[in-house]
Structures are given as C-alpha cells and as structure tokens.
Amino acid sequence: MNDSNTGSGDFAARNRKNTLRLGYWTGAWLITMAVAVFGPLLVWQNNVLTGAAILVNVAVGVGMIVANKHHLEGLDELQKKIHLDAMALALGVGLVFGLGYSTMDVTNFITADAEISHLVMLIGVTYGLAVFIGHRKYQ
C-alpha cells in the first residue's frame, strides 16, 4: 500500500466538504431566520417584506435539510450509527419532555407560556451530547 490515501483521503475530503457545506447552509439559515424575526421589529413594517423574508428563510431551510441528508449519506457506517442513536435519543427526549412541557402550560401548572424555542434547544443539546458520547464510546 502506498501513502497516497487513495480511499480514505477521498472519504475524509468528501466528509469535510459535506460538513463544510452543511455548516454554510446552517449559517445561512440562521441569518435568514434572524432577518425574518428582527427585520419586522427593527427595520421595516411591511407585510410583503416580512412574507418574503419568511419565504427565503424556509427555502434556505430546505437547502439545509438537503445538505444534512448529503452529510449523513457521506458518513461511514459507524458514524451513521452514532448519528442514528443520537437522533433516536433526541427525538424521544423531544417528544416526551416537549409534550410534558406543553401539558404543564395547557393545565396552567406553570405560569409562563411553553416556548417552541425551548424545545428546539432541548433537542439540539440532546443531539449534540449524544453524538459526543457516541464518539467517546467508540474511541
């Protein structure tokens, strides 16, 4: 075998490229989200502009979903397993704690309104932690 890294060089490069692409799409999605949320509050008071900003945000979000799909497809089988386990945990935690949180709001067990952003943060943190633990597990 030579040191040309014919296979995994390609694999690693492809992986890096997919990860970078996903990062760009995620960054773009966050920026368009900020524009759609803060634009009407700070810059304009125009429903057409607000609608356009939301449409752009959703369109970029679709691009992010596709980039995420490509990223996952480019992973090797162990990496896919780590992400699948993490997704299963994030989905379960999101469902159970999200609905529990919503029920607390509906029944007025808590005074504050249940915010969707809290659920998104919970899912994100759970997913990130699960991926981290998965990588540690197979080191």
Partner: protein
C-alpha cells in the same frame, strides 16, 4: 466479534489511517473494529477480505462460533 485486523495491519506495517484510507472509512471506525467495539457490515467485511487477499472467516471470527 473477534478479528485479526490489527495483526494483519501490523504485518503490513500499515497505520490505522492507511487502512481506513483503503477501506474508505474513518480511522475511528478501524480503531473501533480492531478493539471489537463495533462489528463491520458484510460489505465492509468483504472489502477488508479483498484488501488482505483472504476470506472473511480468516479475518473475522464469530464469538458464538468454533
């Protein structure tokens, strides 16, 4: 599942990164397979067998077998 991947790799003086390169997987995956923490799929096992010029049974051994 036990395997002889580490021995076969060492016999050829390959690093984990080089083996990962040939198998088109990450170095972490090669390491996890060598340590018996992760069992490869059949296509990956065939790929390893082709790479070493051996049969799958010569590289991988079922714990329940023998």
């Amino acid at each position: 599942m036990k395997n002889r991947l580490k021995v076969l790799r060492a016999e050829r003086d390959w690093t984990q990164a080089q083996l990962a390169s040939e198998l088109e997987v990450s170095r972490q995956t090669v390491n996890a397979i060598e340590k018996g923490k992760f069992d490869p799929s059949l296509p990956l096992a065939f790929k390893a067998a082709r790479l070493f010029g051996m049969s799958i049974e010569d590289i991988f051994e079922d714990d329940a077998g023998t």
